[in-house]
Symmetry: C4
Subunit: 195 residues, 4 copies
């Protein structure tokens, strides 16, 4: 079984999700700054979700590049990941249009958590298929960054009902952690994880 | 004639359909649980149709992977399948927004039946093109699962006007039958089919 | 310059156009047959445009398969074709929602005519790039079918203001001419064209 | 790391953006010329943005064709470009529906400027990865056309508040400069840049 079509299909879905989100940025009636102002929270959530989907695409790219073999279970684990990612435009729009209210902020975290869990499952299946001595198993390692991301999302969901800005801050922190390629943070995290 | 572009085009259409469906999940006005509640039936039909489209993509992937040659007729048989699949977002939205009323439930079954018939036609044409001794002809076999799916859809359409929950149950049953890789069910089905 | 990305980009655009059209089939409020009835003309125009876009994809597939070289001008001629095809969802929706009124019927024909002209230009540029003795130049031949299609569209535009059903009949005739692989019609057309 | 998936993902995003824009051309209620008239400015901005996205796709195609190696930073620089391009449908719709008012015209220029800056960054990173003696470094040269485009956008933004037609004229000029392959203009520009 070849991985080309799996990559192409995933690329297609993520490309569509990343562009469909922009439809939530509805063209305003007026032509002045007042007309743009209500779009600001929608725009900010759009940037956050664009970066998050970009991170998934990037990591998916690297993971499958290092994989040599796939199987039927991996196809379904990939569709499972795409399912949760497909809900990102909905929760992005809901959080943005309600100006980061508590419940939409918590639901955003829940969808991001479930996507992260789905990614972890997919990664485990792909690593298992390659065998324990594959270069992918070595590259994944203890994966401290992924564990920290999961912990942030688990924390952010209940915290949204105490103070949603803490949750939103955690979402931005997770995105920046993956976006900024800070070698020192990565190596420090790996040291704490005992690598 | 090479099959690469046929696969790429089909992947593109299915990727778009699977993500366009989520647009039917309209961002609600309120930010509380009350605002989410009317979306529940729409969400459930979305899950069902996501799984159904995922099954088609998966089976399409396997079938074309085993095919070595295609022809002009196969291109049109494939477009015929994509036509019925393109109506899935419409019937999904109609059934979900009308809380599984009788007529939308029956029409959902009709579109799924016509897609299944189109898939069967496509498969026959591809098998014929490969020749009787090809590995695809052997892999397809008596195809008891496909016949049972067709029978379920034929039953579900009139039953929707008696009790639509029976029809909806049949749709879920067909999806689970393809999703869960239960070897025992498959082999038992094959035994009854006289294999 | 390789043709792979040109094919992939064109496939992407046509796949999106063919599925975006279905969004014009708005999910109706009611759950009875009355609710579906106003959608009938929209559905019929959807079928017509689906077939037309399918024909373009099919012919594009065959033409580029026979081509060995492309250049910068061909990229732009291809984008020119995609521009007119991108207007198909708009004119399809306009004709369908206005129950085949005169002006929308004429504008539909105008967009189809301009797409056909753009295809002819693209074909000429591709044939020129391959050289006069290429297999593509031989395959294209006198192209009686393409000339008849152009003539039908030229006729249909003014006729829409006399009787739009004649124009709609011409659109269906052109689509069927490409869809039905009737060898006798084709050979007779070629004979009249002096082949 | 291979460039195939980067090309495919970029193609997907641009193909979707170019077709999503056409959704802003809302199907009008009436069936006469009066119903079409308010769509004229939306249609004109659609043509302008279609050409602009086509230019980006064309240049992206040529640049990556000449590149042999990519890295992780290039993936993110490419996503950065796609982010600004993803805002093109929004600013196109805003400018078109407000009949080229000052602020939307300025914002259109700002998004085009940021996309052009993102393209320049991406190009620098790709050239750096190939090494100073690569064929890409030679092909890019002094890039007078890109510098003139950036200057036009920088000028057009403040000028939109004086006379927006000057800004719109500058946008059309930049598009034509890339679209029309006028060798004389190019060579004259290169002479002034001291090549």
């Amino acid at each position: 079984m070849n991985k080309g079509r799996l990559e192409a299909f995933s690329d297609g879905v993520v490309a569509i999700l990343i562009t469909i989100m922009v439809l939530e940025l509805r063209v305003p009636r007026g032509a002045d700054l007042e007309a743009l102002r209500p779009l600001l929270p929608v725009f900010l959530t759009y940037v956050l979700s664009f970066v998050n989907l970009g991170i998934y695409w990037n990591n998916h790219h690297h993971m499958l590049h290092a994989a040599d073999r796939i199987n039927g279970k991996i196809l379904w684990a990939n569709l499972h990941l795409l399912f949760w990612l497909s809900l990102v435009p909905f929760v992005t729009g809901w959080m943005g249009e309600n100006h980061f209210a508590s419940l939409p902020t918590a639901v955003y975290g829940a969808v991001m958590l479930l996507a992260a869990v789905a990614y972890t499952i997919l990664q485990k299946m792909i690593v298992a298929e390659q065998g324990p001595n594959s270069r992918l198993a070595a590259a994944v390692g203890t994966d401290a960054k992924a564990k920290l991301s999961l912990a942030c999302y688990v924390l952010a969901i209940p915290l949204a009902f105490v103070n949603q800005w803490v949750s939103d801050g955690l979402y931005v922190f997770v995105a920046l952690m993956w976006l900024v390629p800070d070698r020192r943070i990565e190596s420090r995290l790996n040291q704490r994880a005992g690598v």
